[in-house]
Chain length 486, copies 2
């Protein structure tokens, strides 16, 4: 408390005496300029359209939660949570993902079935790698289906939706890895891992996308006290990946199939892959036993979508032997089934089964930005349709009246913020900003009751009666639009 | 520091031992459910359309800033800033508004002209009054014009844009109060206020919309040490409001016009009101000398838009004599000119003149929600166009294939998440959710290579060849759309 008082005192002093400061955004964060926003909006539009195509609603939750709400949900990653200062009130933390707030929302609002998407920023005090699109503040786009439903139908839809989005964004080839927590548990049991070590061993397996097997094994044996034979047995399993063929192979594994969890997991996986086939996305799916996902709360199917070639990032192996930047960094979406999370918030432990997927769109933004830079095509950051220009001095009143008329008729318009700008400069501005049309008025036009409409790209002009201006502009805009969409 | 350690220890213990906790969102915050989101999206769409109609770009900034960035910008309100815990790194605070981050952005990116909007949440540890739409986390919709331009042209456009938005949202009658900081300074000088008391006296005047003049006077005299005559003289000015007539009246005031600041302010106001007339919004504008605005950074024109009748909130005077809930709570937008703020961030003090306005949309959301509740018309929260239903058991494979085909053809579709649902229940679901069309398949349809298309509201069905399904659905959807838009 004393510390808080001192800090407050310091802050007050700061209010009085101006001091030098660093002009920057906080570590791991960035501003989006208008070009970046235009790209971001394009990506989010595609994603929202996909969510809506699948009948999803949307919700929103506060950027911070009671710290208790987040406690015990993220396993080893809890240390990355941002806490707010205790300013005399509740103890708060910034949200770490959108899944836990979603589960809190379901429990609190007593919602037992919903298909919702949520697009919002989340916060992690992680080591930022901003050139690769890894930030401390970043967007997540989550799609989740909550409800007691028949097995694997919602789970398969999550895969379908990710496949639709990644195809439409044209990010190159991708694969959606799938696995099942119950199957992993069955494997661990079959390999002789004691049950109380399932989660911690699972979290070691999760590092396989960034680390070599030898290091993962060392973590299991040296840090986590697993015997070496068990670790090797696990190693043989987690190297496997495939499709329906792998299901058959595992179904024939008698040691594995002595484990109830494994049998259940395999049954689910078989059904999931069948549904993926019906949905036409089986080619994008890889059943991958090395996929484990870090978070504690998954209970069934788990997913991870990976771009096959992210060319900027091809694999420099780091000194520590980590595969950092080689595999796994193409990861662009992840998720899974979490049937017990809502129950953790419900006073009666009432469960709401959930499955969902989260798109890590900052990486997508980074890729799109790099593409835009390469193509050198200018991204328009405004939608202005008409520029209202004056040919001589002293006509600003008339110009403003015209502007007001265009705005009132829902025509996107701008005018110079100078009383007496030069005509040439106004027209150059239109060309630079790719504004397609200009209304030009001079003294003679005002006297004759007309305006000139100028087509900026073709530099042609025509005169129309002042009274017909709006109708004529609408005609021009429509024909421009139909040309553009051809 | 010890406190921090203890808290961390406590948090770690929390990780181990599950404990009781309160299921709630933090004080002053709320979730948005799908109905509320649908309303929010409708409001934001209208606002964004207006911003784009005026040629604005958009930017985004992080939710937190270095604490130093916010220090010394908000005067008496600084105590309401949320700070983050010092977790070993930079000292951060949640943004308090979007204006200071915008100024920081301009200085950091060396942008000297931009017209931008920014829609994002801001954070204030204020006393929440959630039934009236006052929260600790709330959206602001800001529109600002930065650049060295001819006087009052951008300033008038801000008024025009607020008038457009409030008219389109149909919130009832509104008035946009305008005043000028230089004119206020001139009044203070003319009334004998010493210059070093201008800001603190201004901040007392700002309370006039919530407090009676007697209390404001008491604050000036008792708390802030102003002599009683000066306060009374101010009282005579700040009671005035009007239009171009008030300008004339003040221009004839020789005591006032002996003050250079007052003359400059009056000249600006005259020009502003003239431009408002050209823009067709003068009827919505009231030149109001009691308007002061709380924030320190304004240097010129200031605005505040107020709803004339907010019926839910009609005036219970509180015991303390405050007019809380009587006047001023209808305030729905505010802003002004701040020519020195960017310079505060620039190492060379380079200035970028700015003017802008901020819409407090939570109040608008609250009003719209109340309206929606009253009208009892159901707000659709999904956009699903087609429901794929099965008439008998065992047809889920075919159903999923149809779904995939519809999704791949960008038709918004859903199916039951059960293998063998009852047909009646599926059709009831369509009616409840206002889904306009259903594709119904049974064994006989599959065998004959057809599907049934059912119009849900009219309960009529027709059979179409399976191969024509997508084309036929598109036709139906188009005709539904053209009916709806008539």
């Amino acid at each position: 408390e004393e510390v808080a008082k001192l800090l407050e005192l310091k802050a007050q002093i700061g209010d009085e005496a101006p001091k030098k400061f660093t002009l920057k955004t906080p570590k791991g964060t960035r501003d989006y300029n208008p070009q970046q926003m235009a790209i971001r909006e394009g990506v989010l539009k595609t994603i929202v359209a996909a969510f809506k195509r699948h009948g999803a609603e949307t919700i929103d939750t506060p950027v911070f939660e009671l710290k208790d709400t987040l406690t015990g949900k993220y396993g080893e990653d809890s240390k990355l949570i941002y806490d707010l200062k205790d300013q005399g009130g509740e103890i708060l933390s910034l949200r770490y993902d959108l899944t836990v707030p979603f589960a809190r929302y379901l429990a609190m609002s007593k919602v037992s079935t919903i298909k919702r998407y949520h697009i919002a920023k989340v916060y992690r005090r992680d080591n930022p790698a901003m050139t690769r699109g890894r930030y401390r503040e970043f967007y997540q786009c989550d799609f989740d289906i909550a409800g007691q439903y028949d097995s694997m139908i919602p789970d398969a839809e999550c895969i379908k939706i990710v496949a639709e989005i990644l195809s439409q964004l044209k990010l190159g080839d991708f694969v959606i890895k799938v696995n099942h927590r119950k199957l992993l548990d069955g494997i661990f049991a079959a390999c002789g891992v004691p049950e109380d070590k399932f989660r911690t061993i699972c979290s070691a397996v999760d590092k396989l996308d960034k680390t070599f097997w030898e290091d993962v094994k060392a973590e299991m044996v040296d840090e986590k006290g697993l015997d070496s034979e068990s670790a090797d047995a696990i190693g043989n399993y987690v190297r496997l990946n495939g499709g329906l063929d792998l299901i058959e192979q595992l179904e024939a594994d008698q040691v594995l199939c002595a484990q109830k969890a494994a049998v259940e997991g395999l049954k689910d996986m078989k059904q999931l892959l069948n549904y993926c086939q019906l949905f036409g996305v089986l080619d994008n799916v890889s059943f991958d036993l090395s996929l484990a996902r870090g978070l504690d709360y998954y209970t069934g199917v788990i997913y991870e979508a990976v771009l096959k070639d992210a060319p900027e990032e091809n694999g420099t192996k780091s000194k520590s032997g980590k595969k950092e930047d080689e595999v796994g960094v193409g990861s662009i979406a992840g998720g899974g089934r979490y049937d017990n999370l809502v129950g953790m918030f419900d006073s009666k432990g009432r469960k709401v089964p959930c499955v969902g997927v989260s798109l890590g769109v900052e990486r997508i933004f980074s890729i799109m930005e790099a593409k835009a830079k390469k193509s050198k095509e200018k991204t328009r950051t405004t939608e202005t349709e008409v520029y209202v220009a004056t040919a001589q001095k002293g006509l600003s009143d008339e110009r403003m009246k015209i502007c007001a008329e265009l705005w009132d008729n829902d025509i996107k318009s701008e005018q110079p913020y100078k009383l007496n700008p030069k005509l040439l400069q106004q027209l150059q501005h239109c060309e630079e900003m790719a504004i397609p049309l200009a209304v030009v008025i001079g003294q003679s036009e005002i006297e004759s009751g007309i305006v000139k409409i100028r087509n900026i790209p073709s530099r042609t002009e025509r005169e129309v009666p002042r009274a017909d201006m709006v109708a004529e502009l609408r005609k021009d805009l429509e024909s421009l639009q139909s040309t553009a969409s051809q």
